[in-house]
Amino acid sequence: MAVTMAQALNTALHDAMAADDRVLVLGEDVGALGGVFRITDKLQERFGEKRCFDTPLAESGIVGSAIGMAMYGFKPVVEMQFDGFTYPAFEQIISHLAKMRNRSRGTVTLPVVIRIPYGGGIGAVEHHSESPEAFFAHIAGIKVVSPGTPADGYSLLRRSIETPDPVIFFEPKRRYWLKEEIDLPIETEPFGTAVIRRAGTTATLMAYGPMVRTCMEAAEAAEDEGWDLEVIDVRTLNPLDTPTLVESVQRTGRAIVVHEAQVFAGFGAELAARITERAFYHLEAPVLRVGGWDIPYPAAKLEEFFLPDVDRILDAVDRSLAF
């Protein structure tokens, strides 16, 4: 049946809560309302107020108290309402969630999942369209995930809740309504592996989250140019499946890394560096990065000029081929 990303995520939360009594869902408006994007829809109704509950409006409090709940033995899945509202929780994530296991020499593990609807393209106000994944990918001790398809939305969220390590789960909010013909529950490729969404020979596009779809559209459009593009869905930023990326570039000789976030010091820089280090002699051109401009996320009427699209991606392919 046709399942949207939002439905897949909601079903994943539902199934995880049904499978394990220790799974709790908490955050702002996740209870009666079901979350501002309805990802927690009906969870409170189904599992009660002890399993799915609203918290006061305080992101550090949400993550900090989830750390305590995880120490106790629960598996909290918390929602940050929007990407740009995550920052008050930064200290708890960086100084404690990511570091507690290392600090405790392995005695304290914190199986917390932080869900963050992220990225732009929905015509939102300021602070509702950002892509802060690079901040989190930089931190040792947490895993960072971003699904690009409904099937992965389900499967990766289930695995994120099961994994004993803390996970930052970036949900591509402009793809919440993206549909896929699948039957849930579904188990996709293992956590920590990248997937070749489209095999090709001309160049490799690499993306995660919202840009997977855009890259697929770019690859279709590129056929008119006679280009056969390979598209890789990175899926998990940390752990990162470097071998799959490198193997692809060794075949195609060209790599273009795509994300919504600003290019400067973005996650694409890590991908470009790793490919250059490992596939240097196979490269026909430098690894190119496609992303947002190095500016704060703009006002909604301007976001179409900020966000990478098919044209910006194909321009990069063109530049790569010109080398």
């Binding site: 550090s60 108290s65 120490m71 404690h96 040792a140 004993p164």
Partner: protein
């Protein structure tokens, strides 16, 4: 008025701070804070305080001798810490700041385990689940949210368990303390916030942290009781904490206690307190030494004689000496352990980086 909303007046802290032993060690019992202690409890409180001071002294000496990088002394706060920790049941938890050696000792944490953080051997070396004593928290007030979450979890689980969340006067300025107080109150979590007001956050006096009448008054805004005690009086620290703990245990929700005390030593061994406080002020607080006061009481009650004093001193010395050798004889930490505990399921690149470090180590051995 909503029946669930408490009458604000009922939440106000007692004035003056609860004191059960006056400055001369005379017992002044209070009907509001009855003592449920037996002779062996009085002796245990005394013993814990003497050991805490000995351990503290030894730790400062170790720092002076270059064995520790830094140390945060609790001198003067023995009563505040021992009294509060002693009010807990075995299943209860403490979430400490970084100045909590006295509370750690009451929970049976090996003092050398705490000192390894300051030595730089490991970032911690005790299992919190064995002692119900969480890891020391360095970033100010962050631990108050972990305490609250742990208490919320115990509440959700229907477990008889109370959490003592330790923080200092400076920490009450942090946003996390506010969020922790608020979460605990909203969820009526079995959590007791225990603020040791030792008058200074490093060099900054309380008057520059808050304009509130007292720290305990802040409780009213969250809808929880504020309590205030003489933190240099071990019996008041115990009795006030005991009341808050039992209230939480009975489903009465959180409380905020302010234990008024004084840090007689520097903030840490890296600090110079002569730059921000006067010798007269220090002398005034030294005259209110918590151990001396309790000793007077114990002697007056016939609970302490020379033999017992000698016995406890011997024990304290032995604990101090053992701690000393555990620190000075500690092995150099294994560099390979740096990768060991970061993740349960480490990313693939850890294997490469481990190999690289191994090669560096082998290379340096060969030279």
């Amino acid at each position: 008025m909503d029946a669930l909303v408490p009458d604000p007046a009922s939440l106000l802290p007692p004035h003056p701070p609860v004191q059960l032993l006056d400055d001369h060690g005379e017992l002044r019992e209070s009907p509001d804070f009855p003592l449920d202690l037996k002779d062996e409890d009085f002796r245990a409180l005394y013993r814990h305080m003497v050991i805490a001071r000995r351990v503290d002294k030894q730790a400062i000496a170790l720092q002076r001798q270059g064995q520790l990088g830094v140390y945060a002394s609790l001198l003067g706060q023995e009563a505040a810490q021992v009294g509060a920790a002693y009010a807990l049941a075995p299943q209860d938890w403490i979430f400490p700041s970084y100045r909590e050696m006295g509370a750690a000792l009451v929970r049976g944490v090996d003092p050398s385990a705490i000192l390894h953080l300051f030595r730089g051997t490991w970032l911690s070396n005790h299992d919190p689940y064995e002692s119900n004593f969480a890891l020391l928290a360095i970033p100010i007030a962050t631990q108050t949210l972990h305490a609250t979450g742990y208490a919320m979890a115990a509440g959700l689980d229907g477990r008889d368990l109370v959490v003592l969340s330790c923080l200092g006067d400076g920490a009450t300025s942090e946003g996390d303390a506010h969020e922790a107080f608020n979460f605990a109150a909203v969820f009526q979590a079995p959590c007791v916030f225990y603020v040791q007001n030792n008058q200074y956050a490093i060099s900054v006096p309380l008057s520059k942290q808050t304009h509130a009448p007292t720290i305990a008054h802040k409780a009213v805004g969250y809808g929880m009781p504020g309590l205030r005690c003489d933190g240099n009086d071990v019996l008041a620290s115990y009795a006030v904490t005991r009341q808050a703990v039992e209230r939480a245990r009975g489903g009465g929700g959180p409380s905020l206690i302010e234990a008024v005390t004084y840090r007689m030593e520097a903030h840490t061994t890296a600090d110079d307190p002569t730059r921000y406080r006067t010798p007269e002020e220090l002398a005034e607080w030294k005259a209110r030494d918590p151990i001396a006061r309790f000793e007077t009481f114990m002697e007056g009650q016939g609970l302490l004689d020379d033999d017992m004093r000698a016995e406890i001193d011997e024990e304290a010395k032995a604990i101090g000496a053992r701690m000393r050798s555990q620190i000075t004889d500690a092995p150099h930490p294994d560099p390979m352990e740096m990768f060991e505990h970061v993740y349960v399921e480490p990313p693939g690149r850890y294997a490469e980086q481990r190999e690289q470090l191994r090669a560096e180590l082998d290379g340096s051995e060969e030279q």
